[in-house]
């Protein structure tokens, strides 16, 4: 059933665990996945979208070297500076971990039956939207900016007839291919419906 989709993706490797575009990812499951349901694409924002916080982290690492230059802190004795430095590095570690989690778990999943958009906003709020492939009315993508053009990522927009009418897969790599795969899956769903093979 998925051979046509596989054909579309032959020139692309399956993608590793940390890939922003995983094809038929192994050992990956999502909440409420049906037994027979297969994950075709697992998408995250392109890795290059993480560069801003990586640069910020590198800059933050060197801040304690300038403690004594800061008037508010310079008067503190060494033991206070020691604790403050430990705290600072703990904050950096937490920041890096939190940013990684946001990137790693905010995914778009395309299966052979539906697509799922999981968004985490900060650590305390998540938003999960699901729509059936048969409800898709229109799929398109756009790339904006030099970075998007250079690294080939963009936003995939999906219009549906479902309750939520618009889904956006943010900054996913190779958006053209994602749109092609989605179009192929929609066509396959239509063929299934015509032939009465609907699960």
């Amino acid at each position: 059933m998925l051979s046509s989709v596989k054909q579309l993706l032959t020139d692309h490797g399956s993608g590793g665990l940390f890939s922003a575009l995983s094809i038929f990812p192994k050992s990956t499951k999502f909440e409420a996945q049906d037994e027979e349901e297969k994950i075709i694409l697992l998408l995250r924002p392109h890795f290059v979208t993480n560069v801003w916080w990586i640069i910020l982290t590198i800059a933050m690492i060197f801040v304690p070297l300038f403690w004594t230059e800061l008037p508010v802190i310079s008067f503190l004795p060494d033991n206070y500076l020691f604790v403050l430095t430990l705290f600072w590095y703990a904050l950096i570690l937490t920041f890096v971990f939190e940013r990684f989690l946001m990137w790693f778990f905010s995914v778009n999943i395309v299966t052979d039956e539906r697509f799922i958009d999981v968004d985490f906003y900060g650590l305390l709020f998540k938003h999960v939207s699901v729509a059936q492939l048969e409800n898709i009315e229109d799929v398109n993508y756009f790339q904006k900016g030099v970075m998007a053009a250079f690294f080939n990522y963009g936003d995939v927009l999906i219009q549906t007839a479902a309750e939520i009418t618009e889904f956006v897969f943010n900054k996913v790599p190779n958006p053209e291919k994602v749109v092609k795969v989605l179009s192929e899956l929609i066509a396959e769903e239509e063929r299934e419906a015509l032939e009465g093979r609907v699960r």
């Binding site: 665990l17 050992s27 990956t28 499951k29 999502f30 909440e31 008067f75 503190l76 004795p77 033991n79 206070y80 020691f82 604790v83 403050l84 430990l86 705290f87 703990a90 904050l91 570690l93 937490t94 971990f97 939190e98 989690l101 790693f104 778990f105 995914v107 999981v118 985490f120 650590l123 305390l124 998540k126 999960v128």
Partner: protein, 72 residues
Amino acid sequence: MNYLVDLGLLSVVRIFLWALLLMFIIFSLVVVRQVQLMSRVLEVPISGGLKLVALGLLVFAVGIFIISVVVL
């Protein structure tokens, strides 16, 4: 006189640091819980590793608090 002012100021800084560290411990607990919830939404082979990292951060946060109580 200046010494007494400094001493008072240091007490304020110490209490402020302890309060920050306590809040950081609570935040680390939230991170541990959040990783559990995230791993439920998406099960991946490294889920166990991520939980360990979150626990490590919590231990680190508690460790810094203990160090601060001893050192300050």
